[in-house]
Point group: C2
Amino acid sequence: MENFVFHNPTKIIFGRNTEEKVGEETARFSRKILFHYGQGSIKRIGLYDRVVESLKKAGVEFIELGGVQPNPRLKLVEKGIEICRKEKIDFILAVGGGSAIDSAKAIAVGVPYEGHVWDFFERRAQPEKALPVGVVLTIPAAGSESSASAVITNEAGPYKRGIYSLLIRPKFAIMNPEVTFSLSPYQTACGIADMMAHVMERYFTPTKNVELTDRLCEATLKTIINNAPVVIKEPDNYDARAEIMWASTIAHNDLLSTGRIGDWATHAIEHELSALYDIPHGAGLAILFPYWMLYVYKKDVERFAQFASRVWNVEVNFRDLESTVLEGIERLKSFFKSIGLPTTLKEANIPDDRLEEMAEKATWAGPIGNFVKLEKEDVLRIYQMARG
Amino acid sequence: MENFVFHNPTKIIFGRNTEEKVGEETARFSRKILFHYGQGSIKRIGLYDRVVESLKKAGVEFIELGGVQPNPRLKLVEKGIEICRKEKIDFILAVGGGSAIDSAKAIAVGVPYEGHVWDFFERRAQPEKALPVGVVLTIPAAGSESSASAVITNEAGPYKRGIYSLLIRPKFAIMNPEVTFSLSPYQTACGIADMMAHVMERYFTPTKNVELTDRLCEATLKTIINNAPVVIKEPDNYDARAEIMWASTIAHNDLLSTGRIGDWATHAIEHELSALYDIPHGAGLAILFPYWMLYVYKKDVERFAQFASRVWNVEVNFRDLESTVLEGIERLKSFFKSIGLPTTLKEANIPDDRLEEMAEKATWAGPIGNFVKLEKEDVLRIYQMARG
């Protein structure tokens, strides 16, 4: 086990009707806020009205900035920073999924910074201050509601880049599973792939002797796998939606990486896909993760056999562990397929004429991944395997 | 799943040599502190010197109050409160196990309170303020390093009573597994029973549809069970000590009870044992938990069968689930025996002439337990079953 610091002070407020608490929770921090959201789905499901009512009741003034797109854009972040500075706003409330939250986090570090916010994403500077952020979560997927990371797309490249800073962990996250009833099966499935990827990035580690976190990862994955078909088939099943929603937070609140080094190559490889073709991050991860596994499993066959056995209930073939590994990877792929996700680039209508460019960009800062270090050529090979 | 709020802001600093950070972490809060510890074991293992050096380096002045006993006493808490008030101290550093930490927490709520601190333990008042507490942990057991609870023994009864308040979660907990190498096999085993009990109190719930937390509980228990014989046999095995130490915190930081109601009857039943006979809390729990299980399992045979199957690898007898349940309980008991713990009152040299008095005291505030409500007669029956 590696030495670690674990500090996650996000206050989670979970369950039915919890959005009614947003005014009270926000008022602890500020009386004048930026209310940041996406493309209007919160209005269709009535959440917008309930949030506004709660804010007004608590005497919290707000300025609205909607319009966050999936794969949130730098342009809107710049606009948010401008509004906050002009209006002397000192708190940002994100109501939405990972995109709205990540956009809010980027605004939060941008406001008190004298340079351009993109500096942080290009690693030219580290955030030293941030406005506090609060969250009402609508999509269980990114785990951004209690994570220390944010990913933004700069239209100029396009470049999709992330930052990690403890300063941007939200102060509170309000999570009502009922709010997720209206997610389409495809949105739901993309979220499921995203949260599973967060666990798997942590699971495939070069660190030895990490039994507790291995088992916590397996527990989280099994819960997601068991509840996924239920939420796809019965979108308003509260209990299954609740399991999935809480699992999405646990998957990415850093508990599962305590004492171990994560891999994170597949995230970097996927970011190039969604930057260029604007597909959902979860769909890209569903395509790529099994091929990443096929490319790297020989590095630690025992760990992959454990994954197959404990997560996918594959009967272990002790005379041929690799067959156990391959069956585990196959079950992961079949699972993604069964919940309606693409498993090749072709199925997602992604052409194969820019694979080299993507491989180049994915490794812009050097080799990626910690389980196995991948150079540009390795990444290209994985894209090629995923062509279909 | 029940609605819940989960908020655990304790900063965990885990790994080799982390005690060197105590000065720096403490200085964020205060320059004049109470340095609270037990009966000198921290001096024998050199930890005292390393803590003092770090505090001095960070410019933190301290007043010492040692002498905390296992089952920490109200008398010393009163003394600590007096010192803090007189010396205008605004931070308490506990270096030790659950007893030192609980004693520190009681002092922390007592200092700013005008009445007597025991009011909180008698439920005559709720803490509204508390001094911040920091921890250097030496015994993985009680989980007090990031919990919101504290248990104190009032010699006058003797009464052993607990409080729960979010105000007393420590600000930071420094956890170096090397510090636990010097624990005796018996101390180690008592700690193991204590942390397992924390998980089991949460596991046996009346709440339905709690798959994620069920599985996280099982993951934690399996890790403890697998590493227990290793730390008993090889006290300086870093990796196994680290698993046990991190598991003890996870067992009691409230993550495992998110969305579910815990039972907690066995804790109340045990407190009377250790109040009267001053045995380690963990030893008392090891004796009582299997008998509590035998007394209540019919309330939810499926849950107990799941426990037997998933935690103890009992092969399920689908035509006779009760036999599966009983085998699971038997394996728990054998496990406690195998690590050197008593499994009956007789083995712990506890006479059976005051069982009625203990049953009376355990139910002083009404029936106990949420999985099954236990009246005085039920508690008495459990004590009688445990006689041996």
